[in-house]
Amino acid sequence: MTSNEERLRGLLLRGLEGDPAAYHAFLKELAAHLRAFLRKRLTRLPEEVEDLVQESLLAVHNQRHTYDPQQPLTAWVFALARYKLIDLLRRRSRTELLHDPLDEEGELFAASDNEAAEARRDIAKLLSELPERHRLPIIYVKLEGLSVAEAAQRAGMSESAVKIGVHRGLKALAAKVRGVQ
């Protein structure tokens, strides 16, 4: 478990320095851990698990600047996942469905589940609802893999507008996923 955490932390730190392959590996492995963690806690809402995995991944990405390298990775991911889980339960006002105690962060990286179910909510569809200044930079940079300079040229925006568009757009996307707006 600790070796799992060490490896994941290494991948995240390289990702934060701008290594996309390491960051991809980090997110992919994290998704499996989050799935196992959430599936165990949402036994009565199995249809919510995959949506919440995706929502948590988006949260991890949007809040990755709040990870302090001095801090154990488990504590950070656990706090994010717990927040998203409680937010979901509160949204559904069915906190009584949570029958597994939420205070065992230690086991977060102990289990992993690679069987993704279908998410009910389609993030690609929510993406299409974003305003153009957010949507275009995200499509060019995140879906088509263009560089910021290329995306700026294609969208007819400045490079900083593209960067801001991606950043704010992903936050707006997270808000849509939560059902706000």
Partner: protein, 213 residues
Amino acid sequence: MKTDELVEFLATGTNSVDRRQHVRRFLAGVAFGCLAAALLTAEALGLHPALSQEALLPMFWVREAFCAALGAAALAGVARLSHPGARLGLVPAALAACVLAMWILAAASLTDASPQQRADLVFGQTAKVCPFLIALVSVPLFFSVIWIMRGLAPTHLRLAGAVGGFAAGALGALAYSLHCPELAAPFLGIWYLLGMLIPTAVGAAFGPRLLRW
């Protein structure tokens, strides 16, 4: 979008994260809030006319240190509560130590005073308005602290709102002290603290709504 596709999507075109940028944002928020609070005090309430003479008194600096230390400890709490999984550590103890120190000073000055002087030490001349004026001066700080926290990721929203409100209150009291004529420890230990607790309560009440992400 399948989860594997989402992972691909998030990892594509990701750039490096500069944590210093977020430190700058934090400091800019605090600086703006403090400046706005000081301007509000100077413009709306007016600086204390004998400020430069009072600055020679030790008690003037005790008052400033009390507000500044509470503000600094609460800001440390804001930073920790805005980072998922970070612990509060010594922040509650530091806040309690500041208040306790002021109360010990207050008890000592009340013990030394004659019974006639005691009411003066407790109520001064401005007890009725002091907490409300501190809360008023804290308003710009309140919004800048909320702005700071919204750029980060608090996970205990009510507590984060309360600590953020307290930080705004303590720094607001620091700004308000430029106008305030009171220097007695019992006064500061009661009315200043009460003034700081008003934005604290507002933060606790509205934190869950203002800080959700």
